[in-house]
């Protein structure tokens, strides 16, 4: 073209007549214009239908949509799966939620810059091995004799940090640093070498996973010190729901409520929420996802931020690895293998963080994780095999991706 399109000013949004009586919409967002929500109900342009479709759109775009979805899911399934509401089961759902949340928080950052990190599962495996090898308080030559770690790092007496003062801390830092190094490699490959994120992290998933397995020759490392195990299992507050007059309460009737993993996960989630929503760094993350070229021209250190985001993702995976390894009481190279990836990506995407980038919130991820954990839990209660569970999850991811397309379209339509 030899010239730009001539002046094409967009009309400012005008609140439609239907909007006046509806709930007070923020000015200018165009919510009041119900006719635009035809992504939900095509053709529903007037009266009640329009209002309903607008409400449906509001719900879909709400921060709490997936929380409502989870609650609805529980309510629908409860008549068929009464065990779902058992205190023991609820406690179990909660305990499954925290480690996944930690990992999903990291993935949220990556998706927000329109990337993806498929390598988190392998980071969990490798960090678990590293932690296990350093912290183990004993070891069995019979199991590990072929492992490269045996005799070099690990012996019958355990790892080098066994019994060392502050050894636990050092071990944990080592696990996190393992994650950071992998994140650094991923980030540099994506930001500076222009390699596609899904391919870089797919290579990481396979290569790093294989490395972790090679280190122990696919065996688990145990035993781990109690102080470490406590991180995965320790209670702060437990709940007893039985009769008050029992002199002694059987252990199995006490349900964990506030646990170390809960505290750790919530601290990480809150920290991540603050980082993403309240700091300069967070603004840069959103800017890169929203419009990378504009961000570059506006002086955002795009490449450095991308590297940092991949580091965050991998460090979160390593932190998740601490919780998983502690709960399992072992360093296990295959910890994040296979369908774990589905849980993470699925939870974040269904939560509402967009695959297109520029849109993501930690609170959404919290609900997404809740939903996914409930999903896994109910599928387990139905006695489905792991393959079938994966199948359902695959379907749910597709549904989530379609929801993402729908939500994105809805947002755009409402904005104009």
């Amino acid at each position: 073209m030899s010239e730009p399109a001539r002046s094409v000013p967009r009309p400012l949004p005008v609140a439609g007549p239907g909007g006046a009586g509806a709930r007070s919409a923020p000015p200018g967002i165009g919510r009041a214009d119900g006719a635009r929500a035809h992504g939900i109900a095509a053709g529903a342009r007037h009266g009640i239908l329009a209002r309903l479709s607008r409400r449906a759109g509001d719900l879909l775009l709400s921060d709490y949509f997936v929380l409502y979805l989870s609650l609805a899911y529980v309510l629908v399934l409860l008549p068929f799966l009464p065990t779902l509401s058992n205190p023991a089961n609820l406690s179990n759902v909660l305990s499954n939620m925290w480690p996944l949340l930690v990992v999903a928080v990291g993935q949220t950052f990556v998706l927000t810059i329109a990337g993806i990190d498929l390598s988190q599962g392998s980071v969990i495996g490798l960090a678990s091995v590293v932690g296990g090898a350093l912290l183990a308080v004993g070891g069995s030559g019979a199991v590990l004799e072929n492992a490269p770690l045996w005799g070099t790092v690990l012996t019958e007496e355990g790892g080098p940090l066994a019994g060392v003062p502050y050894g636990l801390l050092v071990g944990i830092v080592a696990m996190l640093v393992t994650g950071a190094i992998i994140g650094l490699i991923n980030g540099v490959s994506v930001a500076y070498l222009n390699m596609p994120p899904f391919m870089v992290t797919l290579v990481g998933l396979i290569g790093i996973g294989a490395f972790a397995i090679w280190l122990t020759q696919s065996e688990n490392i145990r035993p781990l010190p109690d102080s470490f195990v406590e991180l995965g299992k320790g209670d702060l507050v437990s709940v007893y729901l039985g009769a008050q007059d029992e002199p002694r309460i059987p252990r199995r009737q006490i349900y964990s409520f506030v646990t170390y993993p809960m505290v750790i996960a919530l601290l990480i989630a809150i920290g991540a929420h603050l980082l993403l929503s309240r700091t300069v760094f967070g603004r840069y993350v959103y800017a890169i996802g929203a419009n990378r070229r504009a961000a570059e021209i506006s002086g955002v250190p795009v490449k450095r931020i991308i590297v940092a985001v991949f580091i965050i993702s991998a460090v979160c995976a390593a932190a998740g690895s601490i919780l998983y390894s502690a709960r399992l009481e072992a360093g296990r190279p295959t910890l994040g293998e296979g369908a774990f990836l589905l849980d993470v990506v699925g939870a974040v995407v269904i939560g509402g963080t967009s695959l297109f980038g520029g849109k993501g919130k930690i609170i959404w991820t919290v609900w997404g994780v809740l939903f996914f954990v409930l999903l896994s839990n109910t599928l387990n209660l139905m006695n489905l095999s792991s393959f079938h569970i994966d199948m359902v999850k695959g379907g749910v991811i597709l549904a989530a991706a379609m929801l993402d397309v729908l939500r994105t379209r809805l947002m755009r339509e409402r904005a104009i």
Partner: protein, 498 residues
């Protein structure tokens, strides 16, 4: 002389703003119609209607007397219209012959008849006097050769009407000469041609008829003999300027703020030097493809340069955009949508993007939300942004003019020393243009240096202290003080025409 194509009171408006307004014009059969006008005069919109890309909102077109209303590009192509765009529509990874046939190959035994496409391609190459193998990949061809392949495509489809949109910008003089020979031959073969160009000399030499557009209306159309270059220029201009521009409030100071010395990058710009004083607005006039935007990108550190130096207040600039922003440089790009704004993000987030680091408080660079809110609100006021809640309303909900104010505003938050404005009034209505001129004046009044890049001469004349003219990547001359003469500037920009 019969008309191959007739525009009958043809109009097109976008969102109520008319781009083409009641054009009635004959495209004479077997002729070469030169279509000229300033940027935004409506040439592209007019041609897009012929090409089936844009639907007219009023009037009609007649093709050999029959109503002609193509629904899409394919239908226009089937009718016999070939549109050779400035960006060529070729596939770099296919051969010359394959590019001709990509929408349908001749087959033999169910497979592509390579012999046939090669022969056909060779034939066309020969007709165009192009010495390129039909099996050569497009990526291995020069810009001129690619252009000729596009023409070969038009010949291959046996198009009756071939539209050239600024075909010579990336051609060497020799390639240009050859293109003109080819166009002459096409004419002799009975093709009808519409030739759009800013190189008026070419238009005068090549065309049998010339039509001049201005502000979407046809100003003049006549056989080429009736036109001289000054008359073309006169016809293209001719708007009353008074009242469209604010009075300047600042006088340039003595000290130089921004200096560029002997900047060069092979294939892009050559030996560009200028200085801007504090309080001064320097205009840079250049037509599409003159290298003005590329110069701006180099100044801002987005593209590299091989020779020369850039300095603010005598301190040399280096590094990328980030370093230059820190040194006091600001850049409003010509492509607001792709490079200026985060369209889905709230206005306030756009406003604070450049300067957000300033609001970081220890620890962890937590943003001082109240300060950001206060500052973005103040800036929104300062640029007289017409918006609702800037913290919730996304940038894309704004009109073009208000979007541009957001872009300017986000730089203002940084208090830059030097402002590069690249086509800041593109796609902006008249009222908002005025406000952008006021902003440019205020930037200068605050002691800054402003580089105002534009392809609209009037606005440069209205707001600038000095004007430089760029053509083919070089500064070809300048005008030191108002009053500026429009035709002199255009003549200089068209220096290749002479």
């Amino acid at each position: 002389m019969t008309a191959l194509l007739r525009f009958d009171d043809l109009s097109k408006s976008f969102f109520g703003v008319s781009a083409v307004d009641g054009v009635t014009l004959d495209v004479p059969e077997y002729g070469v119609l030169g279509l000229i006008g300033e940027n935004g005069a409506g040439k592209s919109t007019l041609m897009n209607m012929v090409g089936g890309v844009v639907e007219p909102s009023g009037g009609r077109m007649l093709w050999r007397g029959e109503p002609y209303a193509p629904r899409d590009a394919a239908e226009a192509s089937a009718r016999g219209v070939a549109f050779i765009h400035q960006e060529l529509n070729l596939f770099f990874n296919l051969t010359v012959a394959e590019n001709l046939f990509v929408d349908g190959f001749p087959k033999r035994f169910g497979l592509i008849d390579r012999g046939a496409i090669r022969r056909r391609a060779a034939e066309l190459m020969e007709a165009l006097d192009l010495d390129v193998s039909p099996d050569a990949l497009i990526e291995d061809l020069s810009a001129g050769e690619r252009q000729l392949v596009e023409i070969a495509k038009a010949l291959h489809r046996d198009a009756d009407l071939i539209i050239f949109d600024e075909p010579t910008t990336s051609l060497t003089p020799r390639e240009t000469v050859r293109l003109f020979e080819v166009i002459g031959r096409l004419k002799a073969q009975g093709k009808t041609i519409i030739y759009i160009s800013h190189v008026l000399g070419d238009v005068a030499a090549l065309c049998t008829h010339i039509a001049v557009l201005r502000d979407g209306t046809l100003v003049e159309a006549a056989p080429a003999e009736a036109f001289t270059i000054p008359r073309m220029i006169h016809a293209m201009i001719g708007r009353e300027l008074s009242g469209l521009f604010p009075a300047r409030t600042a006088r340039p100071a003595e000290e130089t703020v921004f200096s560029v010395a002997a900047l060069s990058q092979p294939g892009v710009i050559e030996d560009v030097s200028f200085e801007i004083k504090g309080g001064e607005i320097l205009g840079l006039f250049g037509l599409m493809g003159s290298g003005r935007s590329e110069l701006a990108r180099i100044l801002f550190g987005l593209d590299s340069h091989q020779g020369g130096a850039i300095a603010i207040d005598g301190r040399p600039l280096s590094g990328g955009a980030r370093e230059r922003i820190a040194a006091g440089l600001a850049f409003v790009t010509e492509d607001r949508r792709a490079e200026g704004l985060m369209m889905d993000a709230p206005i306030a987030d756009n406003l604070s993007l450049v300067s957000i680091a300033r609001f970081g408080r220890t620890p962890f660079a937590m943003i001082d939300t109240e300060a950001v809110e206060a500052d973005t609100a103040a800036i929104a006021d300062q640029v007289r942004l017409k918006a609702g809640n800037i913290r919730r309303q996304p940038a894309k909900s704004l009109s073009g003019g208000n979007q541009q104010k957001v872009v300017i505003g986000k730089w203002l938050m940084q208090n830059p020393r030097v402002f590069i404005l690249d086509e800041p009034t593109r796609g902006v209505d008249v009222g908002a243009k005025y406000e952008i001129y006021v902003l440019a004046d205020r930037l200068a009044a605050a002691g800054g240096a402003v580089l105002f890049i534009s392809s609209e001469i009037e606005e440069l004349m209205g707001v600038c202290d000095r004007i430089l003219v760029m053509s083919q990547g070089e500064i070809v001359g300048g005008f030191d003080a108002p009053p500026f003469e429009q035709s002199a500037i255009l003549s200089m920009a068209f220096r290749q025409a002479a």
